[in-house]
């Protein structure tokens, strides 16, 4: 039997999702409860009095449950700022060591020389296989093993050119930078190797065919393409490193957590100082994530037919679509 046909097309009725509405409602309530408790007040146990229309009114003093007053007070404290600077410095230095050494280890690992690739494998095995906390304590205590370091001919004590005491080399700061840097190199080596392997073999052949040396091919052809694969996990590593530096509290490095703990010990504001530290870590990770977006965008050139819009461009096009009428459709 033929279908009934009408002169106009039938209208489309979208499928309803009642469960989604229920889930959204529950989630909204939970979030509201969380925000409410975040900004709730509790009695401090003290009584305050103030004048109100000629009368003295007394009542229990109410303070923020999460100590926002104290958080705000210590957020810009000079010691906290020093701690942030130290955290950033150690993160940057450790990542620089990690990236350079890691790339070197990745290239060694891919060498056709078995000895070189085995050494690279052993390095990764050791530094990935032991906790970074243990490695940090190790570098801090290296003076127990070696009182001093000398420059001269290996395996002899003759012709020593220079000698430096271990404690002069391995200050707390340097122990932290070296410890975190060497550990990071092991992880970054694997990331870099994955990136280098992701580039099509034909690229190296094409580079060779126009007469490029292995170094030139790596620098101008292979590494720029590998970056697209290397950057997202590297962004993870940078953010992870930023937070991992907090375990350097164990060797007394005056970084962010060390400073906030110190203030907490002095003022008994334990929770507010933890919030201060968290807010700073969050702020820096946010800046890093934004930076990562733009770096990724830079290395996406040629791999994507059109680059993803920046947040500013996206906002502009959204606004244009809302207010611009027909012009916006043809953007």
């Amino acid at each position: 039997m033929p279908e009934v046909t009408s002169s106009t097309d039938p209208i489309v009725v979208p499928l309803r999702h009642p469960l989604r509405w229920v889930a959204s409602g529950v989630a909204t309530v939970v979030v509201a409860m969380f925000v409410h408790t975040l900004f709730s007040k509790i009695p401090s146990g003290q009584t305050v009095c103030h004048g109100l229309a000629g009368h003295r009114v007394c009542g229990p003093e109410m303070v923020w449950r999460f100590g926002w007053t104290e958080v705000l007070h210590y957020l810009g404290d000079p010691l906290v700022i020093q701690g942030v600077e130290m955290t950033l410095f150690v993160t940057v230095m450790a990542m620089v060591i990690g990236f350079v050494l890691g790339l070197l280890i990745a290239i060694m690992r891919m060498s056709s020389n078995r000895l070189l690739s085995s050494i690279a494998w052993l390095y990764t095995w050791f530094f990935r296989g032991t906790p970074v906390y243990v490695q940090l304590l190790f570098w801090f205590n290296i003076a127990v093993l070696y009182q001093s370091f000398s420059l001269g001919i290996p395996f002899t004590h003759a012709f020593t050119i220079a000698t430096v005491g271990s404690n002069a080399i391995f200050t707390v700061l340097r122990a932290a930078v070296i410890g975190f840097g060497l550990n990071e190199a092991a992880y970054f080596a694997e990331i870099a190797r994955g990136g280098l392997l992701s580039v099509d073999e034909g690229q190296l052949e094409a580079a060779k065919a126009i007469g490029m040396t292995r170094m030139q091919s790596l620098r101008h052809i292979i590494v720029p393409q590998a970056m697209r694969v290397i950057i997202p996990p590297s962004g993870n590593e940078v953010i992870s490193m930023l937070k991992t530096t907090s375990i350097a509290v164990a060797i007394g490095l005056p970084e962010l957590l060390y400073q906030t703990e110190n203030i907490a010990a002095r003022t008994y504001q334990v929770v507010p100082m933890l919030i201060v530290a968290s807010l700073w870590y969050l702020a820096v990770t946010t800046v890093l994530s934004i930076g990562q977006f733009y770096v990724e965008r830079h290395f996406a050139k040629g791999a994507l037919r059109t680059l993803p819009p920046t947040p500013v461009q996206r906002l502009r096009s959204d606004l244009a679509r809302s207010f611009g009428g027909r012009r916006a459709v043809a953007r």
């Binding site: 052949e205 094409a206 065919a209 126009i210 007469g211 040396t213 393409q225 994507l304 037919r305």
Partner: protein, 254 residues
């Protein structure tokens, strides 16, 4: 006597126990176009890749423009050449790949200038000028700021030809340059290659395009299982094949 651009004698190459080339002789005179044909796995691509040492041959003599490639003869011994020397040799031999292998992170213009600037040390402005001339020659002067992913396969292969020509090679190698193309795009690439042949470029072409071989090639070599089965003038070899192998092969590809 015409100068030999490529002179190969008793070339051997094996991957482990797998003998790919079992003693191949081949000569290409300067300014000639030579086509290598044969079934897949016959060793024709390997032979081509030995000429610019993307593959190292195990034995035999390989000369390009009178110079030994890959090895150096001293006191009756063949010494392997250093990577630096291999690079110098390769820079003078252009190569075009089946899968184009353009550098996807560089624009069309940068693809053509990078070798000139990084390998030959030519000033960027001069390299740009040369690249634009070559793009005009392959009919793509409007595409210089595009990225390879924005071009069709035929356009990409023409850029790849321009990239190879930018190094001013004395010899051009083509490894199945039209095999990865949609049928309607094959013509534009073959046209560029015919034009190049007419300009007097010495070319060695691995191809399945029998029409191109018959029309353009001065000589054709039929490889099968690592040896040259038959060779000679394409109008002779392709029209009156002597061996059963070549007859079988031609009946499949034509």
């Amino acid at each position: 006597m015409t100068q030999l651009m490529v002179d190969i004698k008793a070339l051997r190459k094996s991957y482990g126990a797998n003998d790919v080339l079992k003693g191949v002789d081949l000569t290409v005179a300067s300014g000639e176009v030579t086509c290598l044909i044969g079934p897949s796995g016959s060793g024709k691509s390997t032979l081509l890749r030995c000429i610019n040492q993307l593959e190292k041959h195990d034995a035999g003599i390989l000369r390009v423009d009178g110079e030994l490639i890959g090895y150096q003869l001293r006191n009756g011994k063949l010494y392997e050449r250093s990577e630096r020397e291999l690079c110098d040799d390769r820079a003078a031999i252009g190569m075009v790949f089946q899968r184009f292998n353009l550098f996807p992170h560089l624009t069309v213009l940068e693809n053509i200038t990078i070798g000139q600037v990084r390998v030959k040390g030519i000033a960027p402005s001069a390299a740009d000028k040369k690249a634009r001339e070559l793009l005009t020659r392959v009919g793509l002067d409007a595409k210089e700021s595009h990225y390879p992913s924005q071009l069709s396969g035929g356009q990409q292969q023409r850029v790849a030809i321009a990239r190879a020509l930018a190094m001013e090679p004395k010899l051009m190698l083509f490894d199945e340059p039209t095999s990865a193309l949609d049928p309607e795009l094959v013509g534009e690439v073959l046209d560029v290659m015919k034009d190049l042949a007419r300009s007097g470029m010495t070319m060695v072409v691995v191809t399945h395009e029998m029409g191109f071989a018959r029309e353009v090639a001065d000589s054709v070599y039929f490889l099968d299982a690592g040896i040259i089965e038959e060779s000679g003038d394409p109008r002779e070899v392709l029209v009156r094949p002597q061996s059963q192998r070549l007859r079988d092969f031609l009946s499949k590809v034509l």
